[in-house]
Symmetry: C2
Subunit: 249 residues, 2 copies
DNA sequence: CTCACGCTTTGGTCGTACCATTCTAGGCGA
DNA sequence: TCGCCTAGAATGGTACGACCAAAGCGTGAG
């Protein structure tokens, strides 16, 4: 059990991670207390704490304090992966066109899969939410924060309807990485009205199982998006700022 | 600067992360030594170390010891995202069909973009490598490790030719997450020969700018993949195992 | 029977000391 | 003068010990 390699904390983290991945430590299970592990591994407590911090950051552990506290094994969710990708995207700003290109490709497949795999109830639900978004965007002074949040949820919902976790994951990550960007676009009144109408048209086509029509509306969404961006880019010539501008604490 | 919130280390980690993402700390830059930060933040050294461990795990920092050592800001690379995804996939095993579905969709777009955007030299290079892979897979006792590595590189190369980093990154992440699977498939002699031939056909079509032909071969790849997986899933009992074994050349 | 208090467990933080590694500068020898 | 080599400084890595804060649990008073 005891270790003496270069970085003891990472070694311990690897051992515990292996135990978790191999199922020897099931989700919900609890690791020994730090002081116990300290003596089990024959190391100082700081090392144990650092190992736990590593696994906590990976999303494998959840730490609670107090009696009956300790490190509990957690079930990973897409949030961790999305967060990782989002962080990466923040460090690698890229032209909006590239993001659009990617999302457009993704969206086409998702739409088709959703039509094929999702329950009718889900499709109706999607339509209902889309109509709600459209109504929201038609108001004189819409709450843009709420609207873009709903937009995000619609995208996630649609991705989930594709019944393939990978699409859901990537869409989730993209939403996290570029949320601020989407928000800015809705400030253009013309765009938001057209986009809202287009969302409900898309959702209606999906609900009716009209694949080609859904894809057409889907494509139209990206036409609108590109038009809007081209207009915004025309006056000022700052191509790739915008993602890093948010400076909150 | 000093903090007193619940988890001091996470608070500090957030502050430093914000500084990095906002560009106040450029990649290659160096953070103060632990003992300096200890006094700057008015906290114990353990807290500083844990904060650094968090950012190190996120891939934002690289720590070197000795004189001129310390925490250096790192440029994130896809490796971190891939690692995160791989871990997630380990805890959430999903049907190969879902992965294939996703990759197939991605591959179609990548192929089209690559034909449209890549230089002719790159396309020729791709073809050359594909031919090398095909020759490799035709050997009696091919080195499957090398072959699957080359396969991975081909996929990455093609993704890079699409001139959109997002495709490259996602493809990279997928390759890392499923490397073991790919390797196993090449053990099937029939599959690896057909797949090798198909790779060079695809690359040739791309080099010639024949979009539809390239997409056809691309689709064929996934037909082969699904056949191979289906056979492995349903061993010996299938009535047609016999004639699928014979080679086609 | 209920509620509050205090005890126990356990993570969170601080401080110090010492070790291991790495770079640097200055001295010593050829 | 040039080059190697060693001593020292800077810095992360580890250990130990102490105390604080939160959270659960049990017991005793009302």
């Amino acid at each position: 059990m005891p270790v003496q390699a270069g970085r003891a904390s990472e070694e311990i983290a690897l051992q515990v991670e292996a135990a978790i991945v191999n199922g020897r430590l099931a989700p919900g299970g609890r690791l020994p207390s730090e002081r116990e592990m300290q003596s089990q591994f024959g190391t100082g407590r700081g090392v144990i704490r650092e190992a736990i911090k590593i696994l906590q950051q990976k999303g494998l552990l959840e730490v609670r304090k107090g009696a009956k506290g300790g490190a509990y094994v957690r079930q990973l969710d897409v949030g961790n992966v999305s967060e990782s990708l989002a962080l990466f995207l923040k460090q690698h700003p890229m032209e909006p066109e590239k993001v659009i290109e990617f999302r457009e490709s993704l969206d086409r497949t998702i739409t088709q899969l959703a039509i094929a795999h999702a329950e009718q109830a889900e499709k109706d639900e999607l339509l209902k939410e889309a109509l709600r978004l459209e109504a929201m965007l038609l108001e004189d002074e819409p709450d843009l924060i709420d609207a873009s949040e709903l937009d995000r949820q619609l995208n996630i919902k649609l991705a989930r309807m594709a019944r393939n976790p990978l699409f859901e994951w990537v869409m989730h990550a993209l939403q996290m990485g570029f949320s601020s960007h989407d928000y800015a676009l809705y400030e253009d009144r013309t765009y938001r009205i057209k986009a809202g109408a287009n969302w409900s048209n898309t959702a209606r086509a999906i609900a009716n199982g009209e694949i080609m029509r859904a894809l057409a509306y889907n494509g139209h969404h990206y036409v609108l998006l590109r038009q809007c961006i081209d207009e915004k880019a025309a006056p000022a010539s700052a191509p790739n700022t915008g993602f890093l501008q948010e400076d909150n604490h």
